[in-house]
Symmetry: C2
Subunit: 151 residues, 2 copies
DNA sequence: TACTGATGATCAGCATACTGATCAATAAGG
DNA sequence: CCTTATTGATCAGTATGCTGATCATCAGTA
């Protein structure tokens, strides 16, 4: 049952991530980390574009940014060109957090495939990527490449 | 990033499941389906044991059973041996639903790996199983085998 | 310019998951 | 028998994810 395995693997991935990150002294969820890293890599993008970059639903991203803002890691800035959209920026503390948390995040990635050999882990990643790419548009929140690759 | 792929694959798996099941005229979530099937396969088990069989958190299962009960697919029965526990049973309608919904569930399982060959899909399943087995105890809701295999 | 449609963001509502607490009932010990 | 620890179930609170709606704004067209 691929569906059941998908749920279980994700459940373990989240648990491992939270445990490693908390052990390192941080309070960030996997979802918040991914958003923070994506904002750092794409400064001043609006929320919809950000959601596409990490395949989040647009209604989910609102709450995630709320919490990142509350923690002082991200700021929302009104866009000059389009008054509907908010540009997102990582604060200095957000940058520091991102750098400091990286080892814990990497440890979590290794831990969740600790039962596999390096070759097997690479193969699992390849197969998940391939399956996901072929089914990308079947979810409400598909991955949308950056503007550069879009056209 | 295995963690990100895990989240995305699960996201797609849920979307595909809901779409197929709704197209077949049913209103059941993946989680509700798994619980219903597990109760049918293990009649009169208590909620904690059921949670272990499908790796759900004990606090999550309460709400899932609430909703299955509300839909008339499952009944809670007070246990004669232990007045703390509730024995779970599938109703006749639950049995009918389970039979009728099976083709849609199977279609969803195929759809979520439609980008892979049969061999690749089998390999993905094998690798996920292996990774999950080695990390089973890292989540709060580990899989607990049935009484037969437990000792 | 006025209208129409599309878009960015948010909201209410619902279903998973989890943390940690509570409560009743049971089991184990002295 | 009584105390203590454990266990089955539930609850409050929080964080994803989603459906569908709303609101303000923008873009394109008549």
């Amino acid at each position: 049952m691929p569906g059941h395995l998908a749920r279980r693997f994700q459940q373990i991935a989240v648990a491992v991530f939270l445990a490693e990150v908390e052990a390192a002294g941080f309070d960030l969820t996997p979802v918040q980390y991914a958003a923070l890293a994506a904002i750092a890599a794409n400064p001043a993008t609006d929320q919809i574009t950000l959601a596409g970059l990490i395949a989040y639903d647009r209604t989910t991203i609102t709450g995630v940014i709320d919490r990142l803002t509350q923690k002082g890691l991200v700021v929302r800035r009104a866009s000059a060109r389009d008054r509907r959209s908010r540009e997102l920026l990582v604060t200095d503390e957000g940058q520091r957090t991102l750098r400091a948390i990286t080892p814990a995040v990497e440890a979590a990635q290794r831990l969740m495939v600790r039962g596999l050999t390096k070759t097997e882990a690479r193969e699992l990643i390849r197969l998940m990527q391939k399956a996901i790419a072929a089914a990308n548009d079947l979810s409400r929140a598909p991955l949308r490449e950056g503007a550069a690759e879009r056209q």
